[in-house]
């Protein structure tokens, strides 16, 4: 309850600071639409030429796009802004105000992950849900209750994986304040727009098990269309939870290492 109250308070103040810069609003809106448009257009172009691509037809590729947009929106909504406010350029580590964050009597990982919200990302979230809804509509009678349940579970696993990856890369900043590596995840995440099976074998392996952006979107989409094997479901769950655990450990080590910029 304490943490929910805090999230509400953070959301409120973040919204206030966002609204202080009004012109951002329209730029963000345009950005969201362009993002959606390029995603859908490229699918339309591809599936006008071919019926299926490596086993993926239009509705399932659209579902994957919806998942990609959804995870991207959640990243934009709080994970990204919260982590960047600490580890990014001009972040708290650089300015030294991280001292205050460390002195708050609240779990530091929670504070690092939920403190800043970008209210405009709610619009991205809405668009993503619309795309996902359209895809589910197109899939229609193929959807089973079990598939939807497994989809939700895998979607959560994908979100946890994305969060763990961003957290781990952010934590590296404690070893060297020049490590601003979250952009690697952000760039690689673009590849998650398409099913991993489209990529050559070596890249697919990297995107599945090393920097698991493939797992984040392809697996939930497979769960939705019912082509995900039970052992892969279990493996993904296990992998996402252990990634979260490892990222937390890394952060704890980083915090211990932190010696604030001398005044």
């Amino acid at each position: 309850m304490f943490y929910i109250k805090l999230i509400l308070a953070f959301f409120k103040t973040s919204t206030q600071s966002e609204l202080a810069y009004r012109s951002n609003f329209f730029i963000r809106l345009l950005n969201s639409f362009l993002n959606l448009l390029t995603g859908v257009l490229s699918l339309v172009v591809i599936f006008n030429q071919v019926e299926t691509l490596q086993g993926w037809d239009m509705p399932s590729a659209l579902a994957l796009l919806g998942i990609y947009l959804l995870l991207g929106a959640l990243r934009e909504l709080f994970i990204g802004p919260s982590l960047e406010s600490v580890t990014g350029m001009d972040g708290e580590i650089w300015t030294g105000t991280f001292d205050f964050t460390l002195l708050r009597p609240v779990d530091k990982q929670f504070l690092l992950s939920f403190r800043h919200w970008r209210i405009f990302a709610l619009f991205d979230l809405l668009l993503a849900l619309v795309v996902l809804g359209a895809a589910m509509g197109l899939l229609g009678s193929d959807l089973s209750f079990g598939a939807v349940l497994s989809f939700i579970l895998m979607l959560l696993a994908g979100l946890v994986l994305l969060y763990a990856a961003l957290l781990a890369f952010s934590a590296l900043v404690f070893w060297n304040s020049g490590f601003l590596f979250t952009w690697i995840i952000n760039d690689l995440f673009q590849l998650a727009r398409y099913p991993v099976s489209l990529y050559p074998n070596w890249l697919r392996l990297i995107l599945t098990w090393i920097i698991p952006v493939g797992l984040m979107t392809t697996i939930p989409a497979q769960a939705l269309i019912g082509t995900l094997s039970p052992w892969m479901t279990a493996l993904t769950l296990l992998f996402s939870l252990s990634s979260l655990f490892a990222a937390s450990i890394l952060l704890q080590h980083g915090l211990r290492k932190y010696t604030s910029a001398s005044s």
């Binding site: 304490f2 109250k5 805090l6 308070a9 953070f10 409120k12 103040t13 206030q16 600071s17 202080a20 300015t95 030294g96 105000t97 001292d99 205050f100 460390l102 002195l103 708050r104 009597p105 609240v106 211990r256 010696t259 604030s260 001398s262 005044s263």
Partner: protein, 332 residues
């Protein structure tokens, strides 16, 4: 017997700092083979502070003041030694401990710059689990004491430095911590604002019995607020005691300022009658003499008796001069 609020034994902090020669070649070399040097920022420091005490921690830049504060607040691990604050080991940063302390820094802001301070206060009250009724009461008292009313609706970035500092103090005190670490709170403020903040701290300390460690470069802060000072130099604690004692110990002189009623009075011969007495300045008929404390009474009596004095005053040397002398010499 109650144990002291803050107790520090053999506290030492060694930093490992990268070392680099100037020039591009050296920069590239350090990329692959960085070199480090150990720097002892704080060296085997010992002290105790009782609850409710207000202690000034002074010393030149880089002396180890901020490092000491950071260890006590829990931001840094010491390399050796022990420190106990309110019964806690600070660097474990337990939530119970963090709720009892507060750190206010003159050169860093704990507030969100895009929103009015009132909203930041609200979030902090949630973080520190301050019950709503207490929060309202504390806030009103602080607002009253600091005369904050007109500031609370402006975003922090539009506040002046002095106004912002008042808000930083509210942010640091609204959960009523028992221990307050103040790191150069009057940095860059104008004289009037410095005085206001000092008055506030004095009243707050008296009313709430809060234990305060204050670092500052302004001796006026220390003379107004801190009956006890600790002087750090190159990481060593070289003095711990009353400020006045320090001044007496270091400056066994008084300044005698005088003005003659006739412009061309020559008193060179007069001064030579007294040992260790010298003329520091002479301007437009105003003279300043440095006189050993023990000789002051005798000298002034004789002055008044033999020379045409229009005005005379006896003063302690300014504390800045005393401190400057220690910083130069590195010992008390």
């Amino acid at each position: 017997m109650t144990s002291p609020m803050i107790s520090v034994q053999n506290l030492t902090k060694v930093y490992r700092v990268p070392e680099r020669q100037p020039g591009l070649g050296a920069s590239i070399q350090s990329l692959f083979k960085p070199r480090y040097r150990d720097v002892e920022a704080v060296s085997t420091i010992n002290f105790e502070i009782e609850a409710g005490e207000m202690v000034g921690l002074i010393g030149p830049n880089g002396a180890g003041k901020t490092t000491t504060l950071k260890i006590l607040s829990g931001l840094l691990y010491p390399t050796y030694g022990k420190a106990t604050v309110a019964g806690f080991r600070p660097w474990e940063r337990s939530p119970e401990y963090l709720r009892r302390i507060s750190m206010v820094m003159g050169n860093r802001s704990a507030l969100n710059w895009d929103i009015p301070p009132m909203d930041s206060f609200h979030v902090l009250s949630k973080i520190y689990k301050v019950p709503t009724s207490h929060y309202q009461r504390n806030l009103e008292a602080l607002i009253e004491l600091l005369d904050l009313h007109p500031l609370l609706k402006k975003p922090v970035r539009n506040l002046s430095l002095g106004e912002r500092m008042k808000c930083e103090l509210v942010a640091g005190l609204l959960y009523q911590p028992d221990i307050l670490f103040l790191d150069e709170p009057t940095l860059g403020l104008d004289v009037a604002m410095q005085r206001r903040l000092r008055q506030f701290l004095q009243i707050y300390n008296r009313e709430h019995h809060v234990t305060v460690i204050l670092t500052t470069h302004y001796m006026a802060d220390v003379t107004a607020l801190c009956p006890r000072v600790m002087l750090i130099h190159h990481g060593h604690l070289i003095y711990d005691g009353a400020l006045q004692t320090l001044a007496k110990k270091l400056a066994p002189f008084k300044l005698v300022k005088l003005q003659f009623s006739t412009t061309s009075t020559d008193f060179k011969g007069f001064i030579t009658q007294f040992a260790n007495t010298e003329r520091l300045t002479s301007e437009n008929g105003h003279h300043t003499l440095r006189v050993p404390r023990d000789n002051v009474a005798q000298l002034t009596a004789k002055l008044l008796e033999t020379l045409p004095i229009a005005d005379l005053s006896i003063e302690d040397p300014p504390i800045e001069a005393v401190i400057d002398q220690i910083y130069e010499e590195g010992r008390v």
